[in-house]
Symmetry: C2
Subunit: 387 residues, 2 copies
């Protein structure tokens, strides 16, 4: 087990009706608040009114910035940064899913920085402080509600890049599973895939002695798998929605990373796809992860066999561990298909015309991943395996 620091201060406020306490939780951080959100869905659902009422009851002055889109753009982030600087905003409240929260984090970092916020995503500068952030979560998927990271797309060149810092962990996250009832099946399935991918990125490590972390990963994966069809078939099943929502946070709050280094190549490989094609991040991951697995599993067949056995109930064939490992990957693909996810690029009508360009862009800052380090040519072959 490797040395680690686990430092997660996000206060999780989980359950029915808790969006009503958002004012009380926010006012601790100041009276001037930037309310950040996406489109009209929170207005249609009544969530917007609930949040605004609660904030106003606590005497909070609200500045608004809506319009966050999936794969959130740096142009809107820059707009948010200007707003924060102009009005001396104290606190940013993100109401929405991962895109809104990531956008809010980038604004929070940019608001305390003199240069251009994109510097944090190119490596030109590093986040060291940020405005405090709070979250009312509507889409369980990204785990951004308790993570220290953010992913932003720069329209100029369609670069999708990540950065992170402890100060970007939200101060609180309000998680009411009821708010996810109206999420369409496809988005629900994308979220499920995304949270599973967050665990898989951490699970496939070269560190051998991480039994507790392995088992916690497996426990969370099994819970997601066990509840996936229920939330798709019964979108208003509270308990299943709750299991999925809490799993999505646990998947990405860094607990499942303790004692080892995760991989993260698949996310980087996928980012090039959703950077260009604007397909849902979860759908991209359902395509890329199996391809990545097929490309790398021989480097640690035991770990892939353990995954097959403990997560997918594949019986271990001691005389043919490769068969066991491959059966696990197959079961995962079948699962993704069963929840309506694509598992090939062909299914989403993406051809090979940008493979070379995407492989080049993905690796232009160095190799990808830690389980094995992928060069440009490896990434190209993984795109081919994903066809």
């Amino acid at each position: 087990m490797q040395n680690f620091i686990f430092d997660n201060k996000t206060r999780i406020i989980f359950g029915k009706d808790y969006e009503q306490v958002v004012g009380q939780e926010s006012v601790v951080f100041g009276k001037k608040l930037l309310l950040h959100y996406g489109g009209g869905s929170i207005k249609n659902s009544g969530l917007y009114d609930t949040v605004v009422n609660s904030l106003q009851e606590h005497g909070i002055e609200i500045y608004e910035l809506g319009g966050v889109k999936p794969n959130p753009r740096v142009s809107l982030v820059r707009e948010g940064v200007s707003l924060c600087k102009e009005h001396n905003i104290d606190f940013i409240l993100a109401v929405g899913g991962g895109s809104v929260i990531d956008s809010a984090k980038a604004i929070a970092a940019g608001a305390t920085y003199d240069g251009d916020v994109w510097d944090f995503f190119t490596g030109k500068s590093e986040v060291s402080t940020s405005l405090p952030i709070g979250v009312v979560l509507t889409i369980p998927a990204a785990g951004s509600e308790s993570s220290a990271g953010t992913v932003i797309t720069n329209e100029d060149g369609l670069y999708k890049r990540a950065t992170g810092h402890l100060s970007l962990r939200p101060q609180f996250a309000i998680l009411n599973p009821v708010l996810s009832y109206t999420l369409p099946a496809y988005q629900t399935a994308c979220g499920i895939t995304d949270m599973m991918a967050h665990i898989l990125e951490r699970y496939f490590t070269t560190e051998k002695n991480v039994e507790l972390t392995d088992r916690l990963c497996e426990a969370t994966l099994r819970t997601i798998i066990s509840n996936a069809h229920t939330v798709l078939n019964e979108p208003t099943n509270y308990n299943a929605r709750a299991e999925i929502m809490w799993s999505g946070t646990i998947a990405h709050n860094d607990l499942l990373n303790t004692g080892r280094i995760g991989d993260w190549a698949s996310h980087d490989i996928e980012h090039e796809i959703s950077g260009i094609y604007d397909i849902a991040h979860g759908a991209g991951l359902a395509i890329i992860f199996p391809a990545w697995m097929k490309y790398v599993y021989k480097h640690d067949i035991n770990r892939f066999a353990q995954f097959a056995n403990r997560v997918w109930d594949v019986e271990i064939d001691l005389n043919d561990l490769e068969k066991t490992a491959l059966a696990g990957i197959k079961k995962m693909e079948q699962f993704f298909s069963s929840i309506g996810m694509p598992i090939t690029l062909t299914e989403v009508e993406i051809g090979d015309e940008h493979f070379a360009e995407m492989a080049k862009k993905a690796t232009e800052r160095g190799t990808l991943g830690n389980f094995i380090k992928l060069q440009e040519s490896d990434v190209y072959q993984i795109y081919q395996l994903a066809r």
Copy 2:
């Protein structure tokens, strides 16, 4: 799943040599520090010197209070409170195991309170603030390094009582598995039992829909069980010590409690024993937990069968779930015996002479537990089952 708030701010600093950063982590909280510890073992091991040097390097003024004993006493806590008030202490550093940390927490609460600190343990008053606390852990067991609770014994009547508050969660906890190498086998086994008991108290709940939390509990229990014999046979096996140490924290940091109410009757029932007889808390739990289980399992045979199956690999007999449930309890008893724990009061030469008195004291503030609510007569019968 029930609504919950999960708010755990303890910064976990886990791994080799991290005790050397204690000065840097402590100085954030002020320059006047109370160093709280037990007997001479930290002096013999050199840990005391390492800690003091690191604190002094950061210009911290150290006040000392050693002498904490197992089942920490309120008399020493009162001494610590006086020291803190007299010298305007900013921060309390506990170097040791659960007893030292619990004692430090009680001092931290008492130092900001005008009345007698025991008021917090009788229910006369409630903790609302406390001095900040840091921990260098030497004994993985109690989980106090990241919990919000403390248990103190009042010599006057031998009352052992608990209290808790979010402010009592340590600000940081330094966990170096190497510091537990010298722990004797018996104490190691007591620690293992204690952390397992912390999970079991949370696992046996009346809440039906807590799949993720159940699976995280099972994952942690399996990890402890899987590493227990290794740490006993190879006390300097880093990876096994690390799994046990990290499991001990996870067992009691409240993650495994999310979405439900735990039981905690067994702890209360045991407290009466170790309050009077001064036997190790872990050993008392190895005796009481199986007795409690045998007394209550019929109230939810499915849950006990799930426990038997998922934690102890007992095959589920759908035609005889009671047999499955009882086989799980049996396996747990066998496990406790195999690591050198007593599983009956007779083994530790405790007779029935105080059963009536202990059952009365245990229930004098009301019924015990939540899985089922135990009256005085139930507790008496559990002591009988534990003979």
